[in-house]
């Protein structure tokens, strides 16, 4: 563990010349910038806020008037939330909530585990054809997943796993791997070679280096990619539709959300409460891990 702790130096006594980052920081924290940020934040929040108010308004009010009438005619009800958890209306989001979690967690962990190992090999192990392989994986990012849907489904049907969680786990992992390997590889390349050499001198093999040097340093990158992947899988409808269809046993929340409005879209007043139920988990994940998010986003793009 000790090898992983970066050396912290005391700050110089003399004020260093202002770096570009400091200049940028100063400009971005000026009052004007704050006002602009505030305006953008308000503009971006208004629709969500309106949706939030709508989710508490009675059906007739939602269907006839806009959410802003709430201020002149405040009517509150929890009926919409009750309806989306109600077995009688057939929309029990609760079951699908569990399905979504069962789909999401392995779909995040599998690519993270595979990609960090692969990225390590690409970054620090020399083998023949490494550059070609890496290029191939990098190039795979530009293949849109839509073109793979039918071929992949045909394979899943042949090995008889279509309509099960396995199809989704494998599909999501496959789609995530190119970007994950690329991101983590860039992050790992930036770790000073001296650190690896020092560990090697101390007698660490690849396994020890990976687990005791790399993983602790990788945390922000792993977290950032984890959030990305989690949000993507949680919000995914297309992949789930193609590989598992509409069965109640495995279908994710998004599928039921799409079906929520009814066969002919007549129950659209339930959409607001339905989306707020589905939003809870991604928002929580984001709040918990947001500080890694920014750090990880910069991974591989900015040195220093």
């Amino acid at each position: 563990m000790t090898a992983a702790v970066p050396i912290v130096t005391e700050p110089d006594l003399e004020a260093p010349p202002e770096s570009t980052a400091a200049v940028a920081k100063k400009k971005l924290s000026s009052p004007m910038a704050s006002v602009a940020a505030l305006i953008i934040a308000v503009l971006w929040t208004i629709p969500t806020f309106g949706l939030f108010l709508s989710s508490f308004r009675p059906e007739a009010a939602i269907k006839r008037t806009g959410w802003w009438t709430f201020f002149t005619d405040p009517q509150m009800t929890l009926d919409n939330y009750r309806a989306v958890f109600d077995d009688e209306t057939g929309v029990n989001l609760g079951n699908f909530f569990i399905n979504s979690l069962v789909i999401c967690i392995p779909s995040v962990l599998i690519p993270l585990a595979l990609a960090s190992l692969a990225a390590y090999a690409f970054a620090w192990i020399n083998f023949r054809g490494k550059n070609f392989l890496f290029l191939a994986i990098f190039a795979l990012q530009i293949v849109p997943l839509q073109v793979t849907l039918i071929p992949l489904l045909t394979i899943f049907v042949k090995v008889d796993i279509s309509g099960t969680y396995w199809a989704l786990w494998l599909a999501h992992s496959t789609f995530a791997l190119p970007l994950a390997i690329y991101l983590l590889h860039n992050f790992m390349r930036e770790i000073p070679a001296g650190l690896i050499e020092a560990a090697r001198v101390d007698g660490a093999g690849h396994v020890a280096i990976f687990f005791r040097v790399m993983l602790p340093l990788l945390t922000p990158a792993l977290a950032a990619f984890g959030i990305f992947q989690f949000l993507w899988v949680w919000n995914d409808l297309l992949v789930a539709l193609v590989f598992v269809g509409g069965g109640d046993d495995v279908a994710p929340l998004t599928l039921q959300l799409a079906n929520l409005t009814g066969t002919r879209g007549t129950a659209w007043h339930l959409l607001a409460s339905g989306t707020f139920v589905s939003i809870i988990v991604p928002v929580t994940v984001f709040l918990l891990l947001q500080r890694y998010f920014v750090r990880g986003l910069l991974a591989g793009s900015v040195k220093g």
Partner: protein, 456 residues
Amino acid sequence: MFGHSGSSRSRVALAGALSVGLAFSLTACGGDKKDDSSGSTDTATSSIDCAQFSQFGDLKGKTVSVYTGIVTPEDAPQKKSYEPFEQCTGVTVKYEGDKSFETQILVRARAGNPPDVAYVPQPGLLKQLVETGKAVEAPAEVATNVDKWFGKDWKAYGTVAGKFYAAPLGANVKSLVWYSPKEFADKGYTVPTTLDQLKELSDKIAATGSKPWCAGIGSGDATGWPVTDWVEDFMLRLSGPEAYDKWVNHEIPFNGAESTAAWNAVGDYLKNDKYVNGGLGDVKSIAGTTFQDAGLQILEGTCSLHRQASFYAANFPAKTKIAEDGEIYAFYLPGKDATSKPVLGGGEFVLAFADRPEVKAFQYFLSTDTWANLKAKASSGWVSANKGLKVENLTNPIDQLSAKILQDPSAQFRFDGSDMMPAAIGSNAFWKQATAWISGQDTTTTVNNIETAWPK
């Protein structure tokens, strides 16, 4: 590895997430239990004759998968109506409802992953599915049932290239005009029985200073489809069912005299500033109003008439009394004269992709009058063209009206034409040109544009 997040905010968030998750899983478990108990205590459903399934052999423990675009809340009565079949045969029916059915079924059929049974809502899609080569013909037992319980026109819609594939399931009636019986009684209006009377009624209401009709054609990607229903209804009324069939199959041109007459007749209503758009604005407001919202104006008292299909009943708030003596009801969009009864409508067809005995038995069950009546008792907002369906078993007055219209011996049923025209027309040019037409484009340009777009 993300363990060192010690700030109080993230702890609160974590606690929140965990408790919400827990609450959901509890509701989920609670829901399951409730399902089980209602399933086991329900004894009213085991009243059907189980002997009719013995011809298919012992089916205990088998599963039939159903894939359909019928989702909540209409899926609950569907599932409920299968219970007697499941009890009789021991077959489990696995129901998958999915609103993107129409695209997904093609993907699944092509990838070799079709369900056992699919409920196909359009004859055009049925044809495409049969062309994938994965569909199987309906068994003889089902064909016999369809001959017995359904009209010839219905059987024809389930037939592709001379082979009978799919028995009809549900149906809906599009030739309906929604109105307020209370308003009609208060103001002394009477339900019209001919097209001329409909016109007189509209003029009478317009003379009072209010706009008689309200309409909306907004529907996302499908904006414009309600106009196509109007045009089809008038095509059927002004030129008759034979000309209608030719028009749908493009044996007469889309910009011919019959078609133009139908468009103009619709224009007399929808593009008439005296008639529209009650409570919503002028003619152009039709394009900007969603079809779900337009008819609600009747409840507001700002509009008297709204032409829309039977399924529109679900759009009114749950407490609205929909009945002949209630706040809302509908009348049959009259024919040219009181004796001709053309009916425009839609429906689903049961297409099978497997010929295992349990699948055949299920198809057989769905094509019987037994099922139609079971389903009628379980649901609201549903009818079938099955002649064995007893009108009194339907719970909802609109369904009873629809069933009466469908079962009328003089009724001439025609399937929604835009569902049968090539996709380039039926779900593209027809909708788009209809929207342009409402927004001010003249009739001649509109019909010419659609004619040009027709695939050669």
